[in-house]
């Protein structure tokens, strides 16, 4: 079947017609979804611990634990085990010192004086 109509008229009619299927409950479902999102956001914001504070404490705690392990290692009493027999421990400890160096407020005075030598050593890397 050929269309005798002017194509422009066909296109205009196609574009202007808004034949929309009924969507019962659209309004209620949308408002329910909004409330659900609001609830989820509230729950999330209640659970979130401020990131900078958390990251600083977590890093300091990690450094303290690793540094403690280094000090207690058998490579030498009271000496940081930076050149001990556990390469992973050396690498990790050095990394922690360098990370500490890069963060303001987390230095040897925070980590503990026992590891000052190791910290100084890492700074020279």
């Amino acid at each position: 079947m050929k269309t005798p109509e002017d194509p422009e008229a066909v296109i205009d009619r196609f574009l202007r017609t808004q034949d929309v299927p009924e969507s019962p409950g659209f309004r209620a479902r949308t408002l329910e979804r909004l409330q659900q999102e609001n609830y989820t956001e509230e729950e999330t914001s209640r659970k979130v611990i401020p990131w900078p504070w958390l990251s600083g404490v977590a890093l300091a705690a990690t450094i303290a634990v690793v540094a403690g392990l280094a000090v207690l290692s058998p490579s030498g009493a009271g000496e940081p085990a930076l050149t001990g027999t556990e390469p992973w421990a050396d690498a990790l400890t050095t990394e922690m010192f360098i990370l500490a160096d890069n963060l303001e407020g987390i230095g040897p005075e925070v980590i503990g004086s026992d590891v000052t030598d190791g910290y100084q050593w890492a700074r020279q890397l």
Partner: protein
């Protein structure tokens, strides 16, 4: 079952919103401190205070034009409904930043078209199911008597989905939703001449799709 509707098309003072994007602030060209007499703008003022019933009224007024626009843009009623819901939720979120200046429909469809573009980008990253050309074989063969008006509309619908996003959006906002060239230019961050050119090219593409039916 379908029901033909037309956009509410408020004709009162122009109100809009500066949000979503810095570009939207340009829409707020002629702000006024008076109480909005445009019903949509008045509802938005209430929505800005957290009044969900006002949002409900806006949904009632604009749901169908919005779903029609998104359907022509995405080709799926389900996706259109989902994105229409997200559009209204965004509308609620941005309502506190709403400032009087431009037509409410410009504001609404700017949100919708940005969400639609994101959706189309997301789809383009996922391989879509290939369509067998045989599925469209009924659209060819000019002498097939089974062709109906519905088929012509289907062909136009597919052709519209083929045109670039900016062309299709400009065409729909102008001819389906009745936005002016200037309003579309604001919504799409383009010049008015670019908008006119996009609309012309999109119509050309649709004309080509009709050639088999002449």
């Amino acid at each position: 079952m379908t029901q033909a509707t037309t956009a509410p098309g408020p004709a009162g003072p122009l109100f809009a919103a500066a949000l979503i994007h810095p570009m939207m602030r340009e829409i707020a060209a002629t702000s006024t401190a008076e109480e909005p007499s445009d019903p949509d703008a008045a509802l938005m003022t209430r929505v800005a205070t957290g009044d969900e019933s006002a949002l409900g009224e806006l949904i009632d007024r604009w749901e169908k034009p919005l779903r029609a626009f998104l359907y022509r843009s995405l080709g799926s009623w389900e996706d259109a409904e989902d994105l229409a819901q997200v559009t209204f939720i965004r509308l609620y979120r941005y309502a506190p930043k709403y400032e009087p200046s431009a037509k409410f429909s410009t504001f609404l469809f700017t949100i919708a078209q940005r969400l639609m573009l994101n959706e189309r980008r997301r789809r383009s990253r996922k391989p879509s199911e290939a369509t067998d050309p045989e599925d469209f074989s009924h659209l060819h063969g000019a002498d097939d008597p089974a062709r109906t008006q519905h088929e012509i509309e289907e062909a136009l619908h597919r052709a519209l989905l083929d045109v670039p996003d900016n062309q299709r959006t400009a065409l729909l906002l102008h001819q389906q939703q009745g936005l002016s060239y200037a309003e579309i230019a604001n919504a799409l961050e383009a010049s008015e001449s670019a908008v006119k050119s996009w609309i012309y090219r999109a119509r050309q593409h649709l004309r080509k799709a009709l050639e088999d039916y002449r």
